[in-house]
């Protein structure tokens, strides 16, 4: 059982660079057809100052800069073999571009169980701020842990 004392815990800020090469790799790995996500000239013609991070890329930034405080695996000691992704949401404020330096802060907002503890749910919210101090986006991840 996951220690409920993690509810409310806020991670340390983590800084991660948005790398152009990784955005191109992500576009390729996801079969992206729209060239604004992998061709800088096309992105420029569409009015972007660099390659834009696609809508789900913030999730990958989070994985690329795991928290020490409140991490599912290294801190909460959840077995990676028992997890499923339950829900995911994003809200956007400012675009994230290649070359940006993003600071992430994650709060564990809830931990609860269903089916008599056979399933536990960890709800975490992450805010992403860019190098200008602007809030770019936030996301909410619900991780399901199978204890059965």
């Amino acid at each position: 059982m996951i220690d409920r004392a993690y509810i409310g815990v806020v991670s340390e800020p983590r800084v991660i660079d948005v790398e152009k090469g990784q955005l191109k790799f992500f576009a390729r790995a996801t079969g992206t057809r729209d060239p604004i996500y992998f061709d800088e000239a096309a992105a420029g013609r569409a009015g972007h100052r660099a390659l834009p991070a696609p809508p789900t890329f913030l999730f990958s930034l989070g994985l690329g800069a795991p928290a020490k405080r409140g991490d599912l695996f290294t801190d909460m000691c959840i077995d990676v073999a028992r997890i499923l992704h339950g829900e995911q949401s994003f809200r956007y404020h400012q675009p994230i571009y290649a070359g940006d330096r993003i600071t992430l802060v994650t709060q564990t907002v809830d931990i609860f169980e269903k089916k008599g503890g056979a399933l536990e749910f960890v709800v975490q919210e992450t805010r992403a701020t860019n190098q200008h101090g602007e809030l770019c986006a936030s996301m909410r991840i619900v991780t399901v842990v199978r204890n059965g």
């Binding site: 789900t56 994003f90 809200r91």
Partner: protein
């Protein structure tokens, strides 16, 4: 590119977005590109020890496909927020089809603009719904 906002109406469906079948190579590439090294998706031995028949696709791969459907319809800057529930596992070799339907058009007070609420879903070629949620898109 986007349909003009004044002609968007409730009940409209977006063009279906279909991606190539998901192979082991797809999952290996996506693991690397997305920083998601959870071995359930890339290591068959590990997945079997965890009680699964084989590796299965990252939920976020299908969510990326849903995102492609949305950003084909409107530029990404008009995507305000969206959410999904992962309702079933996407097995290896599945072909994922993304669908969306306009459920509501409304004036958002908080964002000060006209917006559409879309129901979004992903399905496998076996007819299983794998993701379900909604997206809020600016029509201005």
């Amino acid at each position: 590119m986007a349909e003009h906002s004044c002609i968007v109406k409730v009940g409209d469906t977006l063009p279906e977005h279909v991606q190539s079948p998901i192979s082991r190579a797809t999952l290996a590439l996506f693991a690397g590109a997305s920083n998601d090294y959870v071995p359930l998706h890339i290591d068959s031995d590990f997945a079997k020890r965890a009680g699964m028949p084989d590796v299965f696709a990252h939920g976020m791969l299908s969510m990326a496909y849903l995102g492609q459907m949305l950003t084909t319809w409107v530029p990404q800057q008009r995507l305000r927020q969206w959410n999904v529930r992962f309702t079933a596992i996407t097995p290896l070799h599945a072909t994922v089809t993304c669908r969306a339907k306009v459920m509501e058009i409304f004036d958002s007070e908080s964002d000060g603009e006209r917006q559409a609420r879309l129901e979004i879903t992903a399905h496998t070629d076996q007819g299983v719904q794998t993701l379900a949620g909604e997206a809020i898109v600016s029509l201005e």
